[in-house]
Symmetry: C2
Subunit: 153 residues, 2 copies
Amino acid sequence: MKLVSPGEAAANTNDMSNQAGEELVRIGEMAKKYGVTLRTLRFYEDKGLLNPKRDGSTRLYTRRDKARLKLILLGRKVGFSLRDVKQMMDLYDPTGSNTKQLRLALDKSEKQLARLQKQRALIEDAINELTTSMAAVRQMLIARTAPQASAAG
Amino acid sequence: MKLVSPGEAAANTNDMSNQAGEELVRIGEMAKKYGVTLRTLRFYEDKGLLNPKRDGSTRLYTRRDKARLKLILLGRKVGFSLRDVKQMMDLYDPTGSNTKQLRLALDKSEKQLARLQKQRALIEDAINELTTSMAAVRQMLIARTAPQASAAG
DNA sequence: GTATAAATTGACGTAAACGTAAAAGGTGCG
DNA sequence: CGCACCTTTTACGTTTACGTCAATTTATAC
């Protein structure tokens, strides 16, 4: 079972597909393609988020794995935990309408949105407090730098 | 050496002060007063952020400790790590102008402010992405809930 | 066939700020 | 006197998402 050569991803002289013409990539290429580390891909697999095929012990990522990874990365970006992502993904059923999955996703999204908004408020609070105390510190520094000008008229 | 009775913090019939008239409080009262746990106070001490006196093995918090704790809590609120807080506090010298301390604080504050602003941007990004995908999910749910109306004129 | 590159599993480490349990000493009060 | 409560020290546990070796096996290049 041959694959894409590690050196050249564009080389298609090899048999890099299975019977369905699926492009199988190994972990290195997968990582590069999506800007994650090998460790991350293995970690996601360990957590049940990815399920690459194997050629012996070598992982082979399919189109499905790529789609799933994209979802994982989107989920992470909006602040879902991997557990949340997994929970939602586990509900996916290619033969059904996935209404339950969509409802769960929507439910979790609403909660996450609320969390994000609260976080934003906290951060803005912090920014205000920090700005205020920075002004105070600047004043103290000025008082120490040029105190000789305060006695004059 | 007597103290505030544990049951009543307002009872001032006891000798709860040292020679300077300083009010010494024990860990329980200190924790309640500032809304932190006992563990937190001990943790901060372990990290060198607080230095309560001792009556035998019992911690006695002075006015200075209260001031320091306030600073710690402010620092935490604006997102400084305890290490940062300690680093700044360690520069405090009651006999000097503390110019170095103030400069360090200002420097750290500027960096922290930048971090906070970046975080805020990330969160707003996330909010946007999440809002977008929520709309998409809602559409998919609608398509599954009322597909029978699309065939009619 | 060998050097180099890529891949594997396993397992400990990291960051921050405490939580929690255990076991024991001190203290006021009725 | 003994309960109830406060406090002490020590030390492992928690959380999340990986990082960082390390030792080994496989794959590709020349």
